[in-house]
Amino acid sequence: MSDLGDTWEEPTYTTLPAPVEELRERVRAFAQEQIVPRAAALDQAPADELEWDLIKQGHDLGLTRLIIPRQYGGLGYGMFGLAVALEEIAAADAGIALVFGATLLGQAPVLLSGDPEVQERWLPMFNTDEPVLACNAVTEELAGCDLLIPENAVHAREVMSAQRKGEGYILNGRKRFITNAKVARYASVYANLGDAPGATALTGFLVPLDSPGITRGPVADKMGYRGCLGSELVFEDVEVPAENVVGGEGGGVHINVQQMNMARAAVAAISTGIAAGAFAIAKKWAGERIQGGTELWRHQFSARKLAEMSAKVDAARLLYRKAAYITDNELPTPPYEPAVAKLFADRIAIEVAEEAMSLMGARGYLKEYGVERYVRNALGTRIYEGSPEVLALAVTDALYAEDDF
């Protein structure tokens, strides 16, 4: 076994590798025993409140360093282990799951750099008693997908700028809707270098968020995912040393795309968890509710709904696990499997959550029964790490791509 992490044979369709199954059970126990009882309160709390106690418990379980190689103080579970864990968390609360998912996004450029010196500087910090979080700062007021799609880069407007100064760089601009920005130790930040048009010289930087010139803006009041904090980051003449560049000058779009491909299996797992959580509530209800002298699930139309929901959750699970396994065993992460996994999981999360709400009738519409929260959370999954439109482009580009060697 490598010091850097476990490797295992491709999982069967029904059996997880033993270490991953043990991880899943520990995380499930945490999610069901600690998060579920507090999920309603988390959802209805003010937007800028974060349950640090739950984050600490998740950190103690290793959720902030599952994908980091053991050589750097991580647990070496790879994307496969992280994705399985995030499904369990998201079944209880998607916002808490995204706290750890967003930290992965901040770690991804460090891992993708392939530079041991960069990894030595930025990864061991997660192996501490107190939780350390990271974030990924891409989205801006006028640029979202324009920074994810290379062909769009020339059209991007007023992108955050990076100017060379001496041996380093000066960053100016704003990033919006950044999960964890309020509490992260550092951000992976993308800025356009020099006077290149649009985002054609996008460059990736690792920036400590206590650097002079950085302001963390107010937390956005979201429809769902209220267990995590999304806010603005403002950069005013922020100095960044050259050693903090990832992927070379102008290589930001490549790192960014790789980062998205790498993370999509985990995000698909969050969507799957939302669907699984909603389905669990509906299944329990349909097993107890008596109408027409029998349990709801015995009525054919209700049975059909439950069967479809169950099939969708299982299919989404298989897709994200396949994508996660491939992510752990191939570089670059092939774009096809993660994009398909997220495209499907995002859609069925909405369908399953809505159907669960429908099955419960009036109670599905009430906050106290919990399922309406899953509908709101499901609607949020389509927004980050690739909208359905961006994912469709990634899938078709992959279908027609050829290697250049």
Binding site: G114, G248, L331
Partner: protein, 131 residues
Amino acid sequence: MSVFSSQEQAEKVFERLFSILAADENFTGRLRDSRLSLRLNHSKPDVELNISADGVRIGPDPSGAKPSITISFSCDSAHKLWLGQLLVPVALATGKMRIRGGVSKVLEIVPLLQPAFDQYPAIAAEAGLPV
């Protein structure tokens, strides 16, 4: 047109590069301890190198053993990579390189290849390749 004039020239250059590494006990010891092996599939021209704790072989491994990691790229991309003119993340993202094998093993083997970056410019210059 490739910077390499022939398959023979490419074989000679890359075999020499990795033979220097294979002669380093620190390199081979790490490979042995971690049970790592590496296959480099070059194209244009086609050159396959198999590297393990036992040494460097040009061409397929007769034992048929599956390497821990397989790197596929063109000879020109390999030339630029070892010269430091092509970064690994960019090569991966632009389809100029593909790596198969556990990513954790890839991360383990990368630092072991640093001497290749150090040695290659001189080897390439001696072979008459553009540096």
